[in-house]
Protein backbone atom coordinates (compact mmCIF):
# COMPACT_ATOMS: atom_id res chain seq x y z
CA UNK A 1 0.00 0.00 0.00
CA UNK A 2 1.03 3.58 -0.30
CA UNK A 3 3.07 4.79 2.59
CA UNK A 4 2.83 8.14 4.18
CA UNK A 5 4.98 10.56 2.30
CA UNK A 6 8.26 11.26 3.97
CA UNK A 7 9.85 14.64 3.53
CA UNK A 8 12.76 14.70 1.13
CA UNK A 9 16.06 14.43 3.00
CA UNK A 10 17.84 17.62 3.73
CA UNK A 11 21.39 18.07 2.61
CA UNK A 12 22.56 17.22 6.11
CA UNK A 13 20.57 13.99 6.11
CA UNK A 14 21.92 12.72 2.84
CA UNK A 15 24.79 10.30 2.95
CA UNK A 16 28.08 11.75 1.81
CA UNK A 17 28.31 11.21 -1.92
CA UNK A 18 32.04 11.37 -1.81
CA UNK A 19 32.21 7.94 -0.23
CA UNK A 20 32.51 5.70 -3.22
CA UNK A 21 31.59 2.30 -1.82
CA UNK A 22 31.20 0.23 1.30
CA UNK A 23 34.89 0.48 2.15
CA UNK A 24 35.32 4.20 2.03
CA UNK A 25 34.13 5.31 5.44
CA UNK A 26 35.34 2.42 7.55
CA UNK A 27 37.12 3.20 10.76
CA UNK A 28 40.88 3.00 11.03
CA UNK A 29 41.45 0.99 14.20
CA UNK A 30 44.84 -0.50 15.13
CA UNK A 31 43.47 -3.75 16.52
CA UNK A 32 39.87 -4.05 15.43
CA UNK A 33 39.56 -7.76 16.27
CA UNK A 34 40.14 -7.24 19.97
CA UNK A 35 37.98 -4.15 19.96
CA UNK A 36 35.08 -6.21 18.63
CA UNK A 37 35.03 -8.20 21.85
CA UNK A 38 34.40 -4.94 23.70
CA UNK A 39 31.61 -3.77 21.43
CA UNK A 40 28.72 -2.16 23.30
CA UNK A 41 25.20 -1.54 22.07
CA UNK A 42 24.94 2.05 20.99
CA UNK A 43 28.70 2.56 20.91
CA UNK A 44 30.91 3.29 17.96
CA UNK A 45 31.17 0.19 15.75
CA UNK A 46 33.54 1.44 13.10
CA UNK A 47 36.17 -1.09 14.22
CA UNK A 48 33.56 -3.83 13.81
CA UNK A 49 32.93 -2.52 10.33
CA UNK A 50 36.55 -2.97 9.39
CA UNK A 51 36.47 -6.53 10.72
CA UNK A 52 33.29 -7.15 8.78
CA UNK A 53 35.01 -5.99 5.62
CA UNK A 54 37.89 -8.37 6.17
CA UNK A 55 35.49 -11.24 6.73
CA UNK A 56 33.44 -10.43 3.65
CA UNK A 57 36.43 -9.87 1.42
CA UNK A 58 38.22 -13.03 2.47
CA UNK A 59 38.71 -15.56 -0.28
CA UNK A 60 38.36 -19.29 0.39
CA UNK A 61 42.12 -19.57 0.90
CA UNK A 62 42.01 -16.96 3.65
CA UNK A 63 38.92 -18.10 5.52
CA UNK A 64 40.83 -20.28 8.01
CA UNK A 65 42.89 -17.32 9.18
CA UNK A 66 39.80 -15.13 9.43
CA UNK A 67 37.99 -17.84 11.37
CA UNK A 68 40.93 -18.09 13.77
CA UNK A 69 40.87 -14.34 14.34
CA UNK A 70 37.17 -14.41 15.13
CA UNK A 71 37.53 -17.35 17.51
CA UNK A 72 40.43 -15.66 19.25
CA UNK A 73 38.38 -12.53 19.78
CA UNK A 74 35.42 -14.57 20.97
CA UNK A 75 37.61 -16.20 23.62
CA UNK A 76 38.87 -12.93 25.06
CA UNK A 77 37.99 -12.43 28.72
CA UNK A 78 35.21 -9.92 29.22
CA UNK A 79 33.73 -10.34 25.79
CA UNK A 80 30.54 -8.29 25.87
CA UNK A 81 27.08 -9.44 24.86
CA UNK A 82 27.16 -7.16 21.83
CA UNK A 83 30.66 -8.32 20.96
CA UNK A 84 29.72 -11.97 21.19
CA UNK A 85 26.66 -11.41 19.00
CA UNK A 86 28.71 -9.60 16.38
CA UNK A 87 31.50 -12.18 16.34
CA UNK A 88 29.01 -15.03 16.02
CA UNK A 89 27.28 -13.22 13.15
CA UNK A 90 30.64 -12.96 11.42
CA UNK A 91 31.36 -16.62 12.11
CA UNK A 92 28.02 -17.40 10.48
CA UNK A 93 29.67 -16.29 7.23
CA UNK A 94 32.92 -18.25 7.45
CA UNK A 95 32.78 -20.79 10.28
CA UNK A 96 33.88 -24.35 9.60
CA UNK A 97 33.95 -27.44 11.75
CA UNK A 98 36.95 -25.88 13.48
CA UNK A 99 34.61 -23.45 15.24
CA UNK A 100 32.31 -26.11 16.61
CA UNK A 101 34.04 -26.72 19.98
CA UNK A 102 34.02 -23.04 20.92
CA UNK A 103 30.45 -22.60 19.75
CA UNK A 104 29.32 -25.79 21.45
CA UNK A 105 30.31 -24.31 24.79
CA UNK A 106 28.27 -21.19 24.07
CA UNK A 107 25.34 -23.32 22.92
CA UNK A 108 25.05 -24.91 26.34
CA UNK A 109 24.60 -21.59 28.09
CA UNK A 110 21.13 -20.10 27.83
CA UNK A 111 22.62 -16.61 27.78
CA UNK A 112 24.67 -17.25 24.66
CA UNK A 113 22.87 -20.10 22.89
CA UNK A 114 21.04 -17.85 20.46
CA UNK A 115 24.21 -16.10 19.34
CA UNK A 116 26.02 -19.43 18.97
CA UNK A 117 23.22 -20.69 16.75
CA UNK A 118 23.78 -17.82 14.31
CA UNK A 119 27.00 -19.58 13.39
CA UNK A 120 26.36 -23.24 14.19
CA UNK A 121 23.21 -23.38 12.06
CA UNK A 122 25.35 -22.50 9.04
CA UNK A 123 28.09 -25.09 9.56
CA UNK A 124 27.60 -28.21 7.50
CA UNK A 125 28.48 -31.63 8.84
CA UNK A 126 27.83 -34.02 11.71
CA UNK A 127 29.96 -32.13 14.24
CA UNK A 128 27.66 -29.10 14.25
CA UNK A 129 24.59 -31.33 14.30
CA UNK A 130 25.98 -33.17 17.31
CA UNK A 131 26.73 -29.90 19.10
CA UNK A 132 23.12 -28.83 18.73
CA UNK A 133 21.79 -32.17 19.98
CA UNK A 134 24.20 -32.16 22.91
CA UNK A 135 23.09 -28.70 23.94
CA UNK A 136 19.53 -29.91 24.48
CA UNK A 137 20.55 -31.54 27.75
CA UNK A 138 21.89 -28.30 29.16
CA UNK A 139 19.13 -25.88 28.18
CA UNK A 140 15.56 -25.14 29.11
CA UNK A 141 12.85 -22.75 28.01
CA UNK A 142 13.19 -20.47 25.01
CA UNK A 143 16.90 -21.14 24.28
CA UNK A 144 16.13 -24.86 24.15
CA UNK A 145 13.23 -24.21 21.78
CA UNK A 146 15.62 -22.19 19.64
CA UNK A 147 18.09 -25.07 19.42
CA UNK A 148 15.26 -27.41 18.48
CA UNK A 149 14.35 -24.99 15.70
CA UNK A 150 17.90 -25.07 14.39
CA UNK A 151 17.93 -28.87 14.47
CA UNK A 152 14.73 -28.87 12.42
CA UNK A 153 16.11 -26.28 10.03
CA UNK A 154 19.14 -28.50 9.40
CA UNK A 155 16.80 -31.46 8.85
CA UNK A 156 18.70 -33.57 11.33
CA UNK A 157 16.58 -36.71 11.25
CA UNK A 158 18.85 -38.45 13.74
CA UNK A 159 17.34 -36.22 16.41
CA UNK A 160 13.84 -37.61 15.99
CA UNK A 161 13.90 -39.88 19.02
CA UNK A 162 15.28 -37.13 21.27
CA UNK A 163 12.69 -34.69 19.99
CA UNK A 164 9.88 -37.20 20.49
CA UNK A 165 11.01 -37.64 24.09
CA UNK A 166 10.95 -33.88 24.64
CA UNK A 167 7.52 -33.56 23.07
CA UNK A 168 6.11 -36.17 25.44
CA UNK A 169 7.89 -34.96 28.57
CA UNK A 170 5.41 -33.12 30.83
CA UNK A 171 8.22 -31.50 32.79
CA UNK A 172 9.38 -29.58 29.73
CA UNK A 173 8.10 -26.04 29.25
CA UNK A 174 5.18 -25.75 26.79
CA UNK A 175 7.30 -23.65 24.43
CA UNK A 176 9.87 -26.45 24.29
CA UNK A 177 7.32 -29.21 23.78
CA UNK A 178 5.62 -27.22 21.05
CA UNK A 179 8.97 -26.61 19.35
CA UNK A 180 9.69 -30.34 19.46
CA UNK A 181 6.31 -31.16 17.98
CA UNK A 182 6.81 -28.73 15.14
CA UNK A 183 10.35 -29.93 14.52
CA UNK A 184 9.11 -33.50 14.26
CA UNK A 185 6.41 -32.44 11.81
CA UNK A 186 9.08 -30.60 9.83
CA UNK A 187 11.30 -33.68 9.76
CA UNK A 188 8.53 -36.08 8.76
Amino acid sequence: MAEKKRPAPTTAERPPRSSADRKSNAGNTPEPWEMCARLEYGGDRSFAWSVREQVIDSGPEDRARIEDQLLKALALPGCTDAGRAFLCQMLALVASVKSVPALAALLKDGKSADEARYAVQQIAGPEAAAALRDALGSLSGAPKAGVIGSIAHRRDTTARAVLAGIRENPSEAPVVREAAARALAHLS
Partner: protein
Protein backbone atom coordinates in the same frame (compact mmCIF):
# COMPACT_ATOMS: atom_id res chain seq x y z
CA UNK B 1 -13.54 -21.70 5.15
CA UNK B 2 -15.06 -21.78 1.65
CA UNK B 3 -17.26 -18.73 1.29
CA UNK B 4 -20.22 -18.37 -1.02
CA UNK B 5 -19.68 -16.36 -4.17
CA UNK B 6 -20.66 -12.72 -4.00
CA UNK B 7 -20.90 -10.42 -7.01
CA UNK B 8 -17.91 -8.15 -6.93
CA UNK B 9 -20.01 -5.28 -8.17
CA UNK B 10 -21.53 -4.99 -4.74
CA UNK B 11 -18.25 -3.98 -3.27
CA UNK B 12 -17.84 -0.38 -2.51
CA UNK B 13 -14.29 0.51 -1.81
CA UNK B 14 -14.20 3.88 -0.22
CA UNK B 15 -10.71 5.11 -0.44
CA UNK B 16 -10.51 7.76 2.21
CA UNK B 17 -10.74 6.79 5.80
CA UNK B 18 -13.13 9.63 6.41
CA UNK B 19 -15.54 8.41 3.80
CA UNK B 20 -15.09 4.91 5.02
CA UNK B 21 -15.92 5.87 8.56
CA UNK B 22 -19.01 7.77 7.56
CA UNK B 23 -20.20 5.11 5.16
CA UNK B 24 -19.55 2.25 7.51
CA UNK B 25 -21.67 3.90 10.14
CA UNK B 26 -24.64 3.97 7.80
CA UNK B 27 -27.18 1.18 8.45
CA UNK B 28 -27.59 0.54 4.73
CA UNK B 29 -24.03 -0.72 4.47
CA UNK B 30 -23.62 -2.34 7.84
CA UNK B 31 -26.89 -3.45 9.34
CA UNK B 32 -26.86 -3.26 13.10
CA UNK B 33 -27.64 -6.95 13.35
CA UNK B 34 -24.21 -7.94 12.05
CA UNK B 35 -22.26 -8.83 15.11
CA UNK B 36 -19.10 -10.86 15.60
CA UNK B 37 -19.57 -14.59 15.18
CA UNK B 38 -23.16 -14.13 14.11
CA UNK B 39 -22.13 -12.14 11.05
CA UNK B 40 -23.39 -13.66 7.80
CA UNK B 41 -20.81 -15.94 6.28
CA UNK B 42 -20.89 -13.91 3.08
CA UNK B 43 -18.80 -11.29 4.83
CA UNK B 44 -15.12 -12.07 4.81
CA UNK B 45 -13.70 -11.57 8.27
CA UNK B 46 -10.30 -9.99 8.72
CA UNK B 47 -7.63 -9.80 11.38
CA UNK B 48 -4.88 -7.23 11.08
CA UNK B 49 -1.49 -8.05 12.58
CA UNK B 50 0.68 -4.98 12.92
CA UNK B 51 -1.23 -1.74 13.29
CA UNK B 52 1.31 0.87 12.29
CA UNK B 53 2.20 2.86 9.20
CA UNK B 54 1.36 0.31 6.54
CA UNK B 55 -1.80 -0.95 8.24
CA UNK B 56 -3.05 2.61 8.20
CA UNK B 57 -3.20 2.30 4.42
CA UNK B 58 -5.40 -0.79 4.66
CA UNK B 59 -7.90 0.40 7.26
CA UNK B 60 -9.51 2.92 4.94
CA UNK B 61 -10.20 0.44 2.15
CA UNK B 62 -11.22 -2.41 4.42
CA UNK B 63 -13.57 -0.32 6.50
CA UNK B 64 -15.20 0.94 3.34
CA UNK B 65 -15.88 -2.54 2.00
CA UNK B 66 -19.38 -3.67 2.94
CA UNK B 67 -18.43 -7.30 2.35
CA UNK B 68 -15.58 -7.30 4.81
CA UNK B 69 -15.59 -7.20 8.57
CA UNK B 70 -12.47 -6.56 10.66
CA UNK B 71 -12.77 -8.58 13.85
CA UNK B 72 -9.34 -8.27 15.39
CA UNK B 73 -6.33 -5.99 15.50
CA UNK B 74 -2.97 -7.07 16.91
CA UNK B 75 0.09 -5.06 17.78
CA UNK B 76 2.83 -5.40 20.37
CA UNK B 77 2.40 -1.69 21.10
CA UNK B 78 -0.68 -1.24 23.28
CA UNK B 79 -1.30 2.27 22.06
CA UNK B 80 -1.31 1.17 18.43
CA UNK B 81 -3.53 -1.86 18.87
CA UNK B 82 -6.02 0.06 20.99
CA UNK B 83 -6.13 2.88 18.45
CA UNK B 84 -6.63 0.37 15.64
CA UNK B 85 -9.46 -1.47 17.38
CA UNK B 86 -11.09 1.79 18.39
CA UNK B 87 -10.93 3.02 14.78
CA UNK B 88 -12.64 -0.15 13.58
CA UNK B 89 -15.28 -0.13 16.29
CA UNK B 90 -16.02 3.52 15.69
CA UNK B 91 -16.48 2.84 11.99
CA UNK B 92 -18.78 -0.11 12.63
CA UNK B 93 -20.59 1.52 15.50
CA UNK B 94 -20.05 -1.34 17.89
CA UNK B 95 -17.42 -2.96 20.13
CA UNK B 96 -16.90 -6.19 18.21
CA UNK B 97 -13.31 -5.67 17.13
CA UNK B 98 -10.90 -6.94 19.75
CA UNK B 99 -7.33 -5.87 20.33
CA UNK B 100 -4.59 -8.49 20.72
CA UNK B 101 -1.02 -8.28 21.95
CA UNK B 102 -0.04 -11.69 20.53
CA UNK B 103 -0.72 -12.60 16.89
CA UNK B 104 -1.07 -16.26 17.79
CA UNK B 105 -4.19 -15.52 19.78
CA UNK B 106 -5.75 -13.70 16.84
CA UNK B 107 -4.69 -16.42 14.42
CA UNK B 108 -6.48 -19.04 16.50
CA UNK B 109 -9.87 -17.38 16.29
CA UNK B 110 -12.04 -19.67 14.23
CA UNK B 111 -14.30 -16.85 13.05
CA UNK B 112 -11.51 -14.97 11.25
CA UNK B 113 -11.05 -15.91 7.58
CA UNK B 114 -8.12 -13.77 6.53
CA UNK B 115 -5.12 -12.14 8.14
CA UNK B 116 -3.38 -9.03 6.88
CA UNK B 117 0.30 -9.20 7.81
CA UNK B 118 1.39 -5.59 8.35
CA UNK B 119 4.24 -6.04 10.82
CA UNK B 120 7.88 -5.02 10.32
CA UNK B 121 9.55 -7.23 7.72
CA UNK B 122 11.33 -9.59 10.11
CA UNK B 123 7.96 -10.84 11.36
CA UNK B 124 6.23 -11.38 8.00
CA UNK B 125 7.12 -15.04 7.51
CA UNK B 126 6.33 -16.22 11.01
CA UNK B 127 3.00 -14.43 11.28
CA UNK B 128 1.91 -15.55 7.81
CA UNK B 129 2.92 -19.18 8.32
CA UNK B 130 1.17 -19.32 11.69
CA UNK B 131 -1.96 -17.81 10.16
CA UNK B 132 -1.98 -20.32 7.30
CA UNK B 133 -1.43 -23.21 9.70
CA UNK B 134 -4.55 -22.03 11.44
CA UNK B 135 -6.59 -22.00 8.26
CA UNK B 136 -6.38 -18.30 7.38
CA UNK B 137 -5.85 -16.85 3.95
CA UNK B 138 -3.22 -14.15 4.11
CA UNK B 139 -2.42 -10.81 2.56
CA UNK B 140 1.27 -10.25 3.26
CA UNK B 141 2.66 -6.76 2.99
CA UNK B 142 5.79 -6.27 0.97
CA UNK B 143 8.49 -7.39 1.10
CA UNK B 144 7.02 -10.82 1.52
CA UNK B 145 9.82 -11.93 3.80
CA UNK B 146 13.16 -10.79 5.12
CA UNK B 147 15.22 -13.66 3.72
CA UNK B 148 15.13 -16.01 0.75
CA UNK B 149 14.75 -19.02 3.03
CA UNK B 150 11.76 -17.46 4.71
CA UNK B 151 10.16 -16.79 1.35
CA UNK B 152 10.38 -20.39 0.27
CA UNK B 153 8.94 -21.46 3.65
CA UNK B 154 5.94 -19.15 3.19
CA UNK B 155 5.23 -20.57 -0.26
CA UNK B 156 5.51 -24.11 1.10
CA UNK B 157 3.06 -23.30 3.89
CA UNK B 158 0.57 -21.79 1.47
CA UNK B 159 0.65 -24.91 -0.69
CA UNK B 160 0.63 -27.35 2.22
CA UNK B 161 -2.39 -25.73 3.85
CA UNK B 162 -4.13 -24.82 0.57
CA UNK B 163 -4.30 -21.15 1.45
CA UNK B 164 -4.86 -18.09 -0.71
CA UNK B 165 -1.85 -15.87 -0.16
CA UNK B 166 -1.48 -12.47 -1.76
CA UNK B 167 1.72 -10.43 -1.72
CA UNK B 168 1.10 -6.73 -1.10
CA UNK B 169 2.69 -5.55 -4.33
CA UNK B 170 -0.36 -3.68 -5.51
CA UNK B 171 1.32 -2.33 -8.65
CA UNK B 172 0.16 -5.66 -10.10
CA UNK B 173 -3.36 -4.34 -9.72
CA UNK B 174 -2.70 -0.95 -11.31
CA UNK B 175 -3.53 -0.83 -15.00
CA UNK B 176 -0.53 1.18 -16.16
CA UNK B 177 1.88 -1.36 -14.67
CA UNK B 178 -0.14 -4.21 -16.13
CA UNK B 179 -0.11 -2.49 -19.50
CA UNK B 180 3.62 -1.90 -19.59
CA UNK B 181 4.42 -5.47 -18.56
CA UNK B 182 2.04 -6.79 -21.21
CA UNK B 183 3.43 -4.41 -23.84
CA UNK B 184 7.01 -5.43 -23.18
CA UNK B 185 6.05 -9.10 -23.21
CA UNK B 186 4.50 -8.58 -26.63
CA UNK B 187 7.66 -6.99 -27.94
CA UNK B 188 6.17 -3.52 -28.10
CA UNK B 189 9.52 -1.90 -27.47
CA UNK B 190 11.24 -4.21 -29.91
CA UNK B 191 14.28 -5.87 -28.46
CA UNK B 192 14.40 -4.99 -24.78
CA UNK B 193 17.76 -3.48 -23.86
CA UNK B 194 17.37 -2.94 -20.13
CA UNK B 195 15.06 -2.19 -17.22
CA UNK B 196 15.86 0.61 -14.80
CA UNK B 197 14.21 0.80 -11.41
CA UNK B 198 14.70 3.88 -9.31
CA UNK B 199 13.95 3.85 -5.62
CA UNK B 200 13.81 6.71 -3.12
CA UNK B 201 16.74 7.57 -0.82
CA UNK B 202 17.27 4.98 1.81
CA UNK B 203 17.60 6.51 5.18
CA UNK B 204 18.51 9.42 7.34
CA UNK B 205 21.87 9.82 8.92
CA UNK B 206 21.56 9.00 12.60
CA UNK B 207 25.11 9.43 13.83
CA UNK B 208 27.88 7.04 14.78
CA UNK B 209 26.45 6.19 18.18
CA UNK B 210 22.98 5.84 19.65
CA UNK B 211 21.42 5.87 23.07
CA UNK B 212 19.60 2.99 24.63
CA UNK B 213 16.34 4.02 26.24
CA UNK B 214 13.81 2.62 28.66
CA UNK B 215 11.14 0.62 26.88
CA UNK B 216 7.95 2.72 26.76
CA UNK B 217 5.06 1.49 28.85
CA UNK B 218 2.75 -0.63 26.76
CA UNK B 219 5.39 -1.78 24.26
CA UNK B 220 6.42 -5.43 24.40
CA UNK B 221 9.96 -4.94 23.14
CA UNK B 222 10.89 -8.61 23.34
CA UNK B 223 7.94 -9.45 21.11
CA UNK B 224 8.72 -6.54 18.79
CA UNK B 225 12.20 -8.01 18.27
CA UNK B 226 10.81 -11.51 17.90
CA UNK B 227 13.15 -13.50 15.64
CA UNK B 228 15.61 -10.61 15.20
CA UNK B 229 18.85 -10.49 17.20
CA UNK B 230 18.41 -8.91 20.61
CA UNK B 231 19.35 -5.29 21.11
CA UNK B 232 18.26 -2.76 23.69
CA UNK B 233 15.40 -0.46 22.92
CA UNK B 234 15.94 2.84 21.17
CA UNK B 235 13.09 4.92 19.81
CA UNK B 236 15.33 5.58 16.83
CA UNK B 237 15.21 1.93 15.84
CA UNK B 238 11.61 0.94 16.42
CA UNK B 239 8.49 2.09 14.56
CA UNK B 240 9.05 2.98 10.91
CA UNK B 241 12.83 3.24 11.24
CA UNK B 242 13.16 -0.53 11.64
CA UNK B 243 13.56 -0.65 7.86
CA UNK B 244 16.96 0.98 8.07
CA UNK B 245 18.37 -1.80 10.25
CA UNK B 246 19.32 -5.02 8.48
CA UNK B 247 18.25 -7.18 11.43
CA UNK B 248 14.67 -6.29 10.53
CA UNK B 249 14.60 -5.14 6.89
CA UNK B 250 16.74 -4.14 3.92
CA UNK B 251 15.77 -0.51 3.58
CA UNK B 252 14.33 0.80 0.34
CA UNK B 253 15.78 -2.18 -1.52
CA UNK B 254 12.88 -4.21 -0.18
CA UNK B 255 10.50 -1.38 0.70
CA UNK B 256 10.13 0.27 -2.70
CA UNK B 257 12.28 -2.15 -4.66
CA UNK B 258 9.66 -4.81 -4.06
CA UNK B 259 7.20 -2.70 -6.06
CA UNK B 260 9.31 -1.54 -8.97
CA UNK B 261 11.41 -4.68 -9.40
CA UNK B 262 8.19 -6.67 -9.30
CA UNK B 263 7.01 -5.07 -12.53
CA UNK B 264 10.35 -5.86 -14.13
CA UNK B 265 9.92 -9.49 -13.12
CA UNK B 266 6.43 -9.48 -14.62
CA UNK B 267 7.63 -7.97 -17.89
CA UNK B 268 10.47 -10.49 -18.05
CA UNK B 269 8.06 -13.41 -17.58
CA UNK B 270 10.13 -14.40 -14.56
CA UNK B 271 7.36 -14.98 -12.02
CA UNK B 272 8.44 -18.56 -11.53
CA UNK B 273 12.13 -17.92 -11.94
CA UNK B 274 14.41 -14.96 -11.84
CA UNK B 275 17.75 -13.58 -12.88
CA UNK B 276 20.91 -15.63 -13.22
CA UNK B 277 23.46 -13.14 -11.94
CA UNK B 278 23.76 -10.05 -9.79
CA UNK B 279 26.36 -7.45 -8.96
CA UNK B 280 26.16 -4.33 -6.89
CA UNK B 281 27.84 -1.58 -4.98
CA UNK B 282 26.17 -0.01 -2.01
CA UNK B 283 27.20 2.67 0.43
CA UNK B 284 26.72 1.47 3.98
CA UNK B 285 27.10 3.41 7.22
CA UNK B 286 30.20 2.16 9.03
CA UNK B 287 28.78 3.00 12.46
CA UNK B 288 25.51 3.91 14.11
CA UNK B 289 22.21 2.13 14.55
CA UNK B 290 21.25 2.13 10.88
CA UNK B 291 23.02 -0.53 8.88
CA UNK B 292 21.35 -0.63 5.49
CA UNK B 293 22.75 0.95 2.35
CA UNK B 294 22.29 4.68 2.10
CA UNK B 295 22.91 4.49 -1.61
CA UNK B 296 21.71 1.50 -3.58
CA UNK B 297 23.09 0.40 -6.92
CA UNK B 298 22.79 -3.15 -8.16
CA UNK B 299 22.09 -4.97 -11.39
CA UNK B 300 20.53 -8.37 -11.94
CA UNK B 301 20.75 -10.02 -15.31
CA UNK B 302 18.33 -12.52 -16.82
CA UNK B 303 19.25 -15.57 -18.87
CA UNK B 304 18.45 -13.74 -22.10
CA UNK B 305 21.05 -11.12 -21.21
CA UNK B 306 18.64 -8.31 -20.29
CA UNK B 307 19.83 -6.42 -17.21
CA UNK B 308 17.58 -4.84 -14.58
CA UNK B 309 19.23 -2.02 -12.65
CA UNK B 310 18.07 -0.77 -9.28
CA UNK B 311 19.40 2.54 -8.04
CA UNK B 312 18.75 5.18 -5.45
CA UNK B 313 17.37 8.40 -6.88
CA UNK B 314 17.50 11.46 -4.67
CA UNK B 315 14.96 13.45 -6.65
CA UNK B 316 11.98 12.23 -8.62
CA UNK B 317 10.81 9.21 -6.64
CA UNK B 318 10.42 5.63 -7.75
CA UNK B 319 9.77 4.33 -11.22
CA UNK B 320 10.12 1.36 -13.54
CA UNK B 321 11.68 2.29 -16.87
CA UNK B 322 11.85 -0.05 -19.84
CA UNK B 323 14.35 0.73 -22.57
CA UNK B 324 14.15 -1.05 -25.92
CA UNK B 325 15.12 -0.57 -29.51
CA UNK B 326 11.96 1.47 -30.19
CA UNK B 327 12.47 3.83 -27.26
CA UNK B 328 11.62 3.90 -23.58
CA UNK B 329 8.63 3.88 -21.26
CA UNK B 330 8.81 5.24 -17.74
CA UNK B 331 5.98 4.15 -15.44
CA UNK B 332 5.46 5.45 -11.91
CA UNK B 333 2.42 5.41 -9.66
CA UNK B 334 1.28 8.89 -10.52
CA UNK B 335 2.82 9.54 -13.89
CA UNK B 336 4.03 7.86 -17.02
CA UNK B 337 6.13 9.11 -19.87
CA UNK B 338 7.76 7.80 -22.99
CA UNK B 339 10.40 8.67 -25.52
CA UNK B 340 7.54 8.83 -28.06
CA UNK B 341 3.85 9.41 -27.22
CA UNK B 342 2.93 6.67 -29.69
CA UNK B 343 4.49 4.13 -27.37
CA UNK B 344 2.11 5.12 -24.57
CA UNK B 345 -0.88 4.88 -26.89
CA UNK B 346 0.23 1.47 -28.13
CA UNK B 347 0.91 0.35 -24.60
CA UNK B 348 -2.66 1.09 -23.53
CA UNK B 349 -4.32 -0.30 -26.63
CA UNK B 350 -6.29 -3.55 -26.16
CA UNK B 351 -6.03 -6.75 -28.15
CA UNK B 352 -2.46 -7.82 -27.62
CA UNK B 353 -1.51 -11.38 -28.47
CA UNK B 354 -0.06 -12.18 -25.04
CA UNK B 355 -2.57 -11.04 -22.44
CA UNK B 356 -1.67 -10.78 -18.78
CA UNK B 357 -4.18 -11.18 -16.02
CA UNK B 358 -5.85 -7.89 -15.25
CA UNK B 359 -6.74 -6.86 -11.73
CA UNK B 360 -8.02 -3.41 -10.94
CA UNK B 361 -7.86 -3.63 -7.19
CA UNK B 362 -5.45 -5.64 -5.06
CA UNK B 363 -7.85 -6.11 -2.13
CA UNK B 364 -10.69 -6.96 -4.47
CA UNK B 365 -8.56 -9.54 -6.23
CA UNK B 366 -7.54 -11.10 -2.92
CA UNK B 367 -11.06 -11.35 -1.56
CA UNK B 368 -12.38 -12.73 -4.86
CA UNK B 369 -9.77 -15.48 -4.63
CA UNK B 370 -10.66 -16.14 -0.99
CA UNK B 371 -14.13 -16.97 -2.28
CA UNK B 372 -13.14 -18.82 -5.46
CA UNK B 373 -10.00 -20.47 -4.00
CA UNK B 374 -8.13 -19.28 -7.06
CA UNK B 375 -4.61 -17.87 -7.17
CA UNK B 376 -4.38 -14.14 -6.63
CA UNK B 377 -2.63 -11.75 -9.01
CA UNK B 378 0.42 -11.57 -6.73
CA UNK B 379 0.44 -15.11 -5.41
CA UNK B 380 3.16 -15.86 -2.87
CA UNK B 381 5.33 -17.68 -5.40
CA UNK B 382 5.41 -14.46 -7.42
CA UNK B 383 5.99 -12.48 -4.23
CA UNK B 384 8.80 -14.77 -3.21
CA UNK B 385 10.51 -14.44 -6.57
CA UNK B 386 10.31 -10.67 -6.51
CA UNK B 387 11.49 -10.50 -2.91
CA UNK B 388 14.34 -12.79 -3.92
CA UNK B 389 15.46 -10.23 -6.51
CA UNK B 390 15.57 -7.66 -3.72
CA UNK B 391 17.57 -10.07 -1.60
CA UNK B 392 20.00 -10.79 -4.43
CA UNK B 393 20.69 -7.10 -4.72
CA UNK B 394 21.16 -6.74 -0.98
CA UNK B 395 23.54 -9.69 -0.79
CA UNK B 396 25.55 -8.52 -3.81
CA UNK B 397 25.95 -5.06 -2.29
CA UNK B 398 26.95 -6.51 1.08
CA UNK B 399 29.56 -8.79 -0.48
CA UNK B 400 30.65 -6.34 -3.15
CA UNK B 401 31.36 -8.99 -5.75
CA UNK B 402 29.53 -10.43 -8.76
CA UNK B 403 27.44 -13.49 -8.00
CA UNK B 404 25.86 -16.18 -10.13
CA UNK B 405 22.35 -17.30 -9.13
CA UNK B 406 20.55 -20.50 -9.96
CA UNK B 407 16.83 -19.59 -9.89
CA UNK B 408 15.78 -23.24 -10.05
CA UNK B 409 17.83 -24.46 -7.10
CA UNK B 410 17.58 -21.03 -5.47
CA UNK B 411 21.23 -20.98 -4.60
CA UNK B 412 24.31 -19.02 -5.52
CA UNK B 413 26.79 -20.83 -7.71
CA UNK B 414 30.23 -21.28 -6.19
CA UNK B 415 29.94 -18.79 -3.34
CA UNK B 416 29.41 -20.39 0.06
CA UNK B 417 29.30 -17.08 1.89
CA UNK B 418 26.55 -15.76 -0.35
CA UNK B 419 24.57 -18.93 0.19
CA UNK B 420 24.85 -18.50 3.94
CA UNK B 421 23.22 -15.10 3.53
CA UNK B 422 20.05 -16.66 2.11
CA UNK B 423 18.82 -17.23 5.65
CA UNK B 424 19.69 -16.78 9.28
CA UNK B 425 19.05 -18.40 12.62
CA UNK B 426 16.18 -16.81 14.48
CA UNK B 427 16.29 -15.63 18.06
CA UNK B 428 14.63 -18.14 20.32
CA UNK B 429 12.04 -19.43 20.65
CA UNK B 430 11.19 -18.53 17.04
CA UNK B 431 11.81 -20.84 14.12
CA UNK B 432 10.55 -21.48 10.61
CA UNK B 433 9.91 -25.11 11.52
Amino acid sequence: MNLPALPLSRRRFLRSSGLATAAAAAPLILPSGLRGQNAPSRKITVGIVGSGNIADSHYGALLGDENVRILGVCDVDRERRDEGAERVNKAYGNKDCRAYADFRELNRRTDIDTVFVCTPDHWHALVAIDAMRNGKDVYIEKPMTLTIEEGRAVVAAARKHNRVAQHGTQHRSMKRFHDVAEYVRNGGLGKLHRIECFIPPNNRHCGATWKTEAVPEGLDWDMWLGPAPWRPYSSLGCHYNFRFISDAAYGQVTNWGAHYLDIGQWAMDADAGGPVSVEGRGEFPSSGLFTNATKVDFTVRYANGVPMHCRTRYEGGGTSRFVGERGWLDIARNKMSASNPDLLREMQAPGKKIQLELSNNHHDNFFACVRSRGKPIADVEIGHRTTTVCNLGQIAMVLGRPLKWDPVKEEFVGDDMANRLRGRAMRSPWSLA
